[in-house]
Symmetry: C2
Amino acid sequence: MEVPKPKCLEHPINVPTKLLMGPGPVNMPLRVHNAMMKPMLGHLHPEFTQVMDEVKEGLKYIFQTTAEVVCCVSGTGHAGMEATMCNLLEPNDVILIAQNGIWGERAADMARRHDADVRLIKKPPGDVCSLNELESALLKHRPAVLFLVQGESSTGALQPLEGVGALCRKHGVLLAVDTVASLGGVPFFMDSWEIDVVYTGSQKVISAPPSVAPIAFNDRAMEKVRTRKTPIRSFYLDITWLANYWGCDGLPRKYHHTGPVSSVYALREALSMVSEEGLHALWSRHSSCAQRLYSGLEALGLRLFIADPAKRTPTVTTICIPEGVDWMKVTKYFMSKYQVEVSGGLGPTAGKVWRIGLMGYNCIPENVDKVLKIMKEALANEPLLKSNL
Amino acid sequence: MEVPKPKCLEHPINVPTKLLMGPGPVNMPLRVHNAMMKPMLGHLHPEFTQVMDEVKEGLKYIFQTTAEVVCCVSGTGHAGMEATMCNLLEPNDVILIAQNGIWGERAADMARRHDADVRLIKKPPGDVCSLNELESALLKHRPAVLFLVQGESSTGALQPLEGVGALCRKHGVLLAVDTVASLGGVPFFMDSWEIDVVYTGSQKVISAPPSVAPIAFNDRAMEKVRTRKTPIRSFYLDITWLANYWGCDGLPRKYHHTGPVSSVYALREALSMVSEEGLHALWSRHSSCAQRLYSGLEALGLRLFIADPAKRTPTVTTICIPEGVDWMKVTKYFMSKYQVEVSGGLGPTAGKVWRIGLMGYNCIPENVDKVLKIMKEALANEPLLKSNL
C-alpha cells in the first residue's frame, strides 16, 4: 500500500503580493531575488567561498567590527540566538538576561536547555535597562555572560548599549547582543561598544530572505569557547567549525556542512546594497521614516506604546490599541483591502498594541504614508470595524 | 574610527555556470529558481502555511509515510542529523551507529555532544551491515536508538533497510535513518519498513537549494520525545515546536521561528516535480542512469570502488583512482576545461576515489555521457595529467 501522490501539488504555487509592514520578514529588492536566480555552486567551490568572503566583509561593515570570527549560522535568527547560547554557555554558567519582552524569554529558555544558571533582570514591556541597573545586577549575580536585545520587536523598545561593554569588561563578563530587529536601522558598533558576541537576522533591515543568521564572536568570546571544559552541545552551530568553514581561522576550509548557497548569494547582494547606501544614510532613513510615522500616528489621535522617544527602535513601532477598537479587525482591514501587513502584539504585548515595521527595503516615506492612510481609513470606518470582515 | 565600506562589494556578484556532477548540491530546474522570485510572505501568513502544508504532503509522498510529524528543520542536512540526535537522545542513552563512512562519524560526534553512550558497528568503507550483524549488535549493546545511513555519500554504499525496522521493534529500539544522499534516488518506505525517524537534504535528488532539511518522526519516535526526562537541548531543533509550526499536532500554530520562506517555496516546487514524475519513474531514472555510468566507466577500464552492484547507491558512484593517476588533476581537468564538477573522496575515501553524483535534475543520460566523454579525454591525456593544470 503506497502513499499516493498528493493532489495539492498538482496546481501551481500560490503566492500573493503583499507589502510587509510588520516586524519582518520584509519585501526584498529585485536585485536580491535575482541573486537567487544565479546557478548553484558547490559549498566549497572557490567562487562560492569568494562570495562568502564578500559576505564576511559586508558583515564586518554592518556590525562595525574587525573581529576575525564573523560568519553566518545556516538558520534563521533563532539559530543565531541558539548558537550564542550553546557556544558561550557551559552547565552551571551564570547568564544574566534582561527580560523586557519575548526575546529575553526565548533566550532564557535556550540557556536553560544548555543547563546554564539563568538570572533575569525583569523590566516592564517597553522599558529598557539603565547602566546603573545593569551594574547592580552584574554585581549581584556575577554572571559569565550578559545577554541584551537591542531592538525588542515584541515591544518596540531600543536598549541603549553605549557603556554596557565597558561595564562588562570591568566585571569580567561577556556581553552578547541580539540585533535581529535593529541592525542597520540604528547605530551599532560592535568594537567600539565592546560587544563580545552579536547576531542578527537576514530578513529585517538587510532585506534578504530568512535562512541565514549573521553572527560575530570577538577574541574574548572565542577565548571562552576555546577554554570550555565541556563540548559545545551542537555540531551544526559549533562556532569553531563555522569559523573554519567561513575562512575566519586562517586554516584551510574543511567540510563542515553544506551552506545555504542561494541564500548566501542573496545576502551578498543585500549587503552590497547596504554598503552602497552607507550605514549613516541607512540609519538616517530609518530614523526619518520613523519620525514621519510617529507624527502621522499622533495626528490620527493614536498613542505610541513607548512614551519616551529615546527608548523606541525606529524599526518596529508599537501603537496602543485605542479603547473599544478590535485590533484584529484593523489588521484584517489592512490585509484584506490593501494586502498590507501590520501586526498585532506578541508575547507580553499581545492584544495591547499594533506593530508597524520600517525596515530596509520597505522603509520609505511612501510606505509610511500608505500605512497612515489605511490606518486613518480603518479607524474612521467604525461600522466596518464592528462587523465581521 | 569606523570600519569602512568593503571594496569587494562594489563589483557585481560572480557566479559561473557549472554542471554539478559531484555528490551535491546539484543544479536546480528553472521552475525551482522561479519559485524564489515569488514575493516574500510572513512566516505565519495563511498563504505561506498553505505552501508549508503542500510541502508536508510532498514529503509524506517522498518518505512514503502517513506519520503526523513530517516537516522541515530550517537548516541544511546536518541540521536534520542534529535534530534527530538532540530530540531522540538523553544523557546516557545508548545509541548504536553503523560507521562505514563519514556520516557515521558525524552522527557519533553529534550524539556524544548530547552525552549519549555511543556504540559503533564499524564496517570498511564501501561495505554495509547485514541483518545478522545488526541483530547481534542490537543484542550486544541494547541501544535505545539505531542509526543508519541509507546512501553513504563518502563511499557510495547503499545500506539495505528492509527488515531492519522489524528487528528494531523486536528489540524495542528506535530506528533513525539518514537519507540525505539517497532519498528519491532509490526506493524508501518509511512506514512499511518501520523506520521511526528519517531526514534528508533538499539539494540532492529533490534539486532544491540547500537550506531546509525535511524530517519525519513517527508515533513511536514522538512517544520517546514526549516521555523524555530532560529537556531537548535545542529550542531551534525541538521537534515538538517544529511540529506545531508545521501544523502537525492539530493545535493552532504558534510562533516558533521565522521559516526560510523563499527556500520553502523552492522546496514546494521541487516536490511538485517529484510528484509529477512519480517515485517509481524517479527511482528508475536513477537506476538506469547509474547503469549507464557503470558500463561506461568499466568500458574506460575503470574499476568501481564497490564491487557488489547491490551495495551501490545509484546517486553517488565511487571510482577507484587508477595506479599512477593524480586524481586531482582529473577533477581539475573536468572543471577548468568544461566547468563540470566531479569530486574526490571524502573522509575514509579521500585520495582513493572519485565521486560522481547522479541526482535529481542532473540525473539524465546526456549528463552521464558528458561525464564519460570528459573522463575518457582526461585519462587519454597523460601528458596533461602530469603537468600542472
